[in-house]
């Protein structure tokens, strides 16, 4: 049983010259949680992950991995970390098995433990029949799977992935996510990843949205979407000329409407409960009525809009 948080970042500041990449970020996670980092390019995701991975040093703030301070005890922190970088870091000239072997030995695994663990992970990630193949002959998806297998080799408690599906085709992305979700359900590993894909963020227990080096939203996917309060009933007519009539009928019945791409939107807290009322007051031909709840994309765009509107 782990008492300390899997990772703990407090008031982190990272600067590159005069540019502040991370401006006082505080995030943490108990063991076993999956956390997604979202944010546009330059939001500070990679800088935050760089410090968490012990690859770079913070300018201010405290970062701990299972209670080990990454500045004071980097080696203890590294033993608990598994890392999958944004760019490929496998040795292309060496075989699949050799890449895993050197990683295992660097992490202090005994030869017998390394051998059995490599065999296990090659089997789990369907790479057993490629063990002697040079890495340069693997596809992008298989290379990624190998990197994930390598990150798990020394039994880390926390695995950090920087845009793990970057550059992969949809099929390879799906396979990578199947593998990653098994980490928590079957291994109980804590996962922290950054992504640009909203559908990938849905896998997380907690989402942290970064903007210009600061946390602008933090919570579970449903919590963030509920917090947006932008559920709506969408109304569209076969003939766009009828939208004016529909709008007048809705307003007369007390429904405030807004224009939206392809029709009108009626914002309300529980659209399923009110959709029948909306249909009753409308008397226009070729009517289509549907319900739309906010997506993570809406949350992300709202966060981006709020941040860009706020004075800095």
């Amino acid at each position: 049983m782990e008492a300390a948080p899997a990772f703990e970042v407090a008031d982190l500041v990272v600067r590159y010259g005069k540019v502040t990449a991370v401006a006082g970020v505080s995030v943490d996670s108990p063991p076993g949680r999956i956390t997604a980092l979202l944010g546009p390019n330059g939001a500070g995701k990679s800088s935050l992950l760089g410090v968490l991975s012990t690859a770079s040093r913070p300018d201010a703030g405290r970062v701990r991995i299972f209670g080990h301070d990454v500045g004071a005890a980097p080696m203890a922190a590294r033993r608990r970390l598994g890392l999958v970088f944004q760019e490929r870091t496998l040795d292309k000239e060496l075989s699949v098995e050799r890449n895993l072997w050197f990683h295992a030995r660097l992490f202090g695994m005994t030869r017998s433990d390394a051998r059995s663990r490599i065999a296990l992970l090659l089997g789990l990630f369907d790479l057993a029949d490629r063990r002697r193949q040079p890495v340069e002959q693997l596809s992008g998806g298989l290379s990624r799977r190998l990197e994930i297998a390598r990150a798990l080799l020394h039994r880390p408690g926390l695995i950090i992935l920087d845009e793990p599906t970057n550059g992969l085709d949809p099929s390879a992305r799906s396979t990578v996510w199947t593998d990653l979700l098994r980490l928590r359900t079957e291994l109980g590993v804590t996962v922290l990843y950054s992504t640009h894909y909203m559908d990938e963020a849905e896998y997380a227990d907690e989402i942290v949205i970064l903007q210009q080096g600061s946390v602008v939203r933090r919570g579970g996917p449903e919590e963030l979407k509920d917090g947006l309060a932008s559920s709506r009933i969408l109304v569209s007519c076969a003939d766009p000329a009828d939208h004016g009539t529909a709008e007048r009928q809705l307003r007369a019945a007390g429904f405030p409407t807004l224009s939206e791409a392809g029709g009108l939107a009626v914002h309300c807290a529980e659209p399923e409960a009110r959709i029948a009322e909306v249909v009753r007051v409308l008397d226009v031909p070729g009517l289509t009525v549907s319900v739309r709840h906010p997506s993570l994309n809406d949350v992300y765009l709202a966060a981006a809009g709020q941040e860009s509107a706020s004075p800095r």
């Binding site: 970390l81 760019e87 050197f102």
Partner: protein, 263 residues
Amino acid sequence: MTATTAPAPAEETVLSVSLRAVAVIAHRDLLRQVKRPGVLLSQGVQILFFVLVYAVGFDGMIGSVGGVPFSAYVFPGIVAIQVVSIGVASGQTYAWDREFGVLRELLVAPVPRICLPLGKVVAGAGMVTVQSALMLAFAPLMGLELTPVRYAAAVGCYALAATVFSVIGLCLATVIKQMQTLQATVQLAMFPMLFLSGSVFSAADAPVWLAAVMHLNPMTYAVDLARQTLLGGHGLLVWWADLAALGAILCGVLILLRTRSGK
């Protein structure tokens, strides 16, 4: 799947962790070198070319230097040229690892960071030392009298030179981040360093200003030490002064490497 908890490792000291890490990195680098037979072949062709030009070609023209056949006089320098050029190039593998992302993975391993360049030095210098030992076996063909003691001492000299110049190559790779800039810098520095080292002509026979420049070249001390070891007699400096100079240079570049490596 399996449990995430690692079996409790035996308590390792920093020294044992460091030695293991150096051995792992050296093993990895040696494996990569063996996988590139073309590189080893080109290095063999290079030394053959130097032997043909200097030891064979110039021998007929120059005859002897201080009573020693020119081929015998120049041979320790030719081996030193090979040792230094390959030693510096082996240090540059650090830059290639950085370029291809491999270095990132190594830098987050739970080992002292200085172990990574040291592992590369062991692999690079080890490979060059083996090559120099093979080259020295041909010394009698160049007119050198090779006793077992001289042979062993000369291999030791070249091992020290290979270590010094591998570390210099690594230092350059840690200081200069741009691959193209690094290659251009090494190319620019290599030619004067190889030929203004006493490998082909002695600083004692050079004009004063050129001799002064040659004394600033760390390779001069490696060539002088190897030549004294293989030919006997007096060199530019006494042997222990050459050894001390190389030792001091090695300490200096190791300190720089330690500073550049981080925790």
